[in-house]
Amino acid sequence: MVLLKMKFNQQRRVRLAQGLWLLSWLAVMCGAFIFCLGVYLKTELLRRDEVMENTEIHVVPNILMMVGLASIGTNWVATRVCQDSLDASRFPRWKVLLLAWFVVAALLCCLLLAVVVLSYALQGRLEESLKVGLRNGIRFYKDTDVPGRCFQKETFDRLQMEFRCCGNNNFKDWFEVQWVSGRFLDYTAQEVKDRIRSNVDGRYLLDGVPFSCCNPASPRPCLQYHLTDNRAHFNYDYLSEDLNLYSRGCRQALTDYYMGLMNSTGPGVLSVILIQVSVILSLRYLQTAVEGAMALENPEGDSEGYILEKGVKETFEEVKVKVLTMIKLAQVDPEGVPDEAEAEKAADTATEKAASPTPAS
């Protein structure tokens, strides 16, 4: 019982080949689009590399780039097959390749689906990576004279200004870290000595934030220092002031940004999967219809196109049997001689047994 049989006359075959040729070129463009998407995502992730602790999230753009390139090649092969499909002398050379083509194309669709799933699944890992990276960024903010970390301050300031965020979870993260370098602290001043003595590690902690946390939309000039002291500023209430600094934490801001990027690519990737699946199905129809036509006495006559020669279950059984025999052959060959001897013995005993009853009868 054939799966999804369709009749094709010569005209329909020609139309199918032409339509599929156009669809394959569209799929090539889609492959290029997927590649560019991967490149864009990768550059965006690399730009903020310094505040991310690990690169696990990079698997999404890497797969996108690989699939994009593979898809361009695969669909280009499909266009060549379409061009040759109506020429009986040139089509047979593609016969061998087509099974491999179907496997590769199906694999690409699966990989694209996996990318969509991964982009949601890796959100937790991204947040973890950002949490550690940002915490380190805040800790090393003051180390502008340590080689290897001297750009942390600039990077972090620019990050906070661009994403309109402050600190890791919120601005209070800055209260727990010494973010003023010791080079600019007057250790003879009473205030400095008090602050350093007020905690176990001897750090200069203050209830202030860097200037990059300031919110330009605030109606008053930015208050950076003595944030918890209402008396230090005129007409200021620390608990009700919400426009002075950015209220969002940078981890939340960056996660939202990257999730937004990946979600907006979701529909595009899904439609590319759809186009690829339709290319696969149409090429299968074209292959079976053209092969059927070439087997006829009159090549221009009607032929049948189908997806699977037998039903799904039967095809699956056949494939399973083929794969098992291939595995068995691979296992049998190393122990080739003793098995053959055993087989011969078994054959001999069988013939003996067949021979022995006859005298009795």
Binding site: D157, M161, R183, F184
Partner: protein, 344 residues
């Protein structure tokens, strides 16, 4: 004696017509490019019109948009004429107006060149507009409670952060105006009273700048207040401190930004002008080669194509004579009527 004569047979004519048709399509794209550049420039000016006192001149972007539209129109028409030139029947209906069309094209090319020149010159009035606009913007920085000006603070802060600049000429411009709103000043404190009493206008002036002037590349946390007081900060010398706040003034920063845009647009318009001149020359050759057929009935006969029918001098004297004749023709008619009137 015609100018720059080239001999044409049928094959050469067909090739010329096809090439010029192809070039006309590029010229249409170039017209669209000029249009989009005009639109882009207009949008950029509108985006920062608050900093220019809403006073900026939109003459240049409007002119670019107009030129782009006209260019698209005449290039599409020229392309159609070239396409039809291979068919004598179709070409015959375009022939009478082709001369005037070519003259119009030449004038348009001159205007395009003028536009590109303007692009380079418009920098000068922009400089004055920006200086006025930023100065007024800084004056209204503190007025976050006045309707109509409440977003000036945010606009200025965002501009200083984006363009990495501070003040009009430099950061000291902030020392000369009151940029802290009175709502946040404690008028009962001595410090505030001293500062207000220290100047004629009773303004709260201080040697400090807003946070948006801060430079992130500075190794130390930003010093915004008491900037000229070395003893107020540890290990600080305001004469040698370079990285603390942005050194550039916002007028210069914005001017170089817009200057860059205008220079690029000017250069592109020059290139578009050259393309337009090329297609006009091509169309003139197509026209002239089809009007000098040796045997008008036979399509395959040879012909000559030229740039001008006579030499430059003779063409010029012809044009002057025509214009004089047109001028005289007006006068002669009046004289003739009078003469008739007197006679009768």
């Amino acid at each position: 004696m015609a100018l720059m004569v080239v001999k044409f047979d049928l094959k050469k004519r067909v090739k010329l017509a096809q090439t010029v048709w192809f070039m006309y399509w590029f010229a249409v794209l170039a017209g669209i490019l000029v249009l989009s550049m005009g639109l882009f420039f207009k949008i950029e000016l509108r985006k920062r019109s608050e900093l220019m006192d809403n006073n900026e001149s939109h003459f240049l972007p409007n002119l670019l948009i107009l030129m782009g539209l006209i260019a698209c129109g005449i290039n599409a028409f020229g392309g159609k004429v070239c396409y039809d030139s291979l068919d004598p029947v179709k070409f015959a209906k375009w022939k009478p107006m082709l001369k005037y069309f070519l003259v119009f094209c030449v004038c348009f090319n001159g205007l395009l060149l003028l536009t590109s020149l303007l692009c380079f010159l418009m920098r000068i009035p922009l400089q004055f507009t920006l200086a006025e606009g930023i100065k007024n913007g800084m004056k209204y920085y503190k007025d976050t409670d006045t309707p109509g000006r409440c977003y000036m603070k945010r606009t200025l802060d965002l501009m200083q952060m984006e363009f990495r600049c501070c003040g009009n000429d430099n950061f000291r411009d902030w020392f000369e105006i009151q940029w802290v709103s009175n709502r946040y000043l404690d008028f009962s404190s001595k410090e505030v009273k001293d500062r207000i009493g220290s100047n004629v206008d009773g303004q709260y002036l201080m040697d400090g700048v807003p946070f948006s002037c801060c430079n992130p590349t500075s190794p130390r946390p930003c010093i915004q207040y008491q900037m000229t007081n070395n003893s107020a900060h540890y290990s600080y010398d305001h004469y040698t401190e370079e990285l603390n706040v942005w050194k550039k003034g916002c007028r210069d920063a914005l001017l170089s930004y817009y200057g860059g845009i205008m220079n690029t647009i000017g250069a592109l318009v020059v290139l578009v002008t050259m393309l337009e001149v090329a297609v006009t020359v091509g169309l003139q050759y197509v026209n002239s080669s089809l009007s000098t057929l040796v045997n008008p009935e036979e399509v395959e006969s040879e012909s000559e194509g030229y740039l001008l029918e006579k030499t430059v001098k003779e063409t010029f004297t012809d044009i002057m004579a025509k214009m004089k004749a047109m001028g005289k023709g007006g006068k002669v008619e009046e004289g003739g009527e009078e003469a008739v009137a007197t006679v009768s």
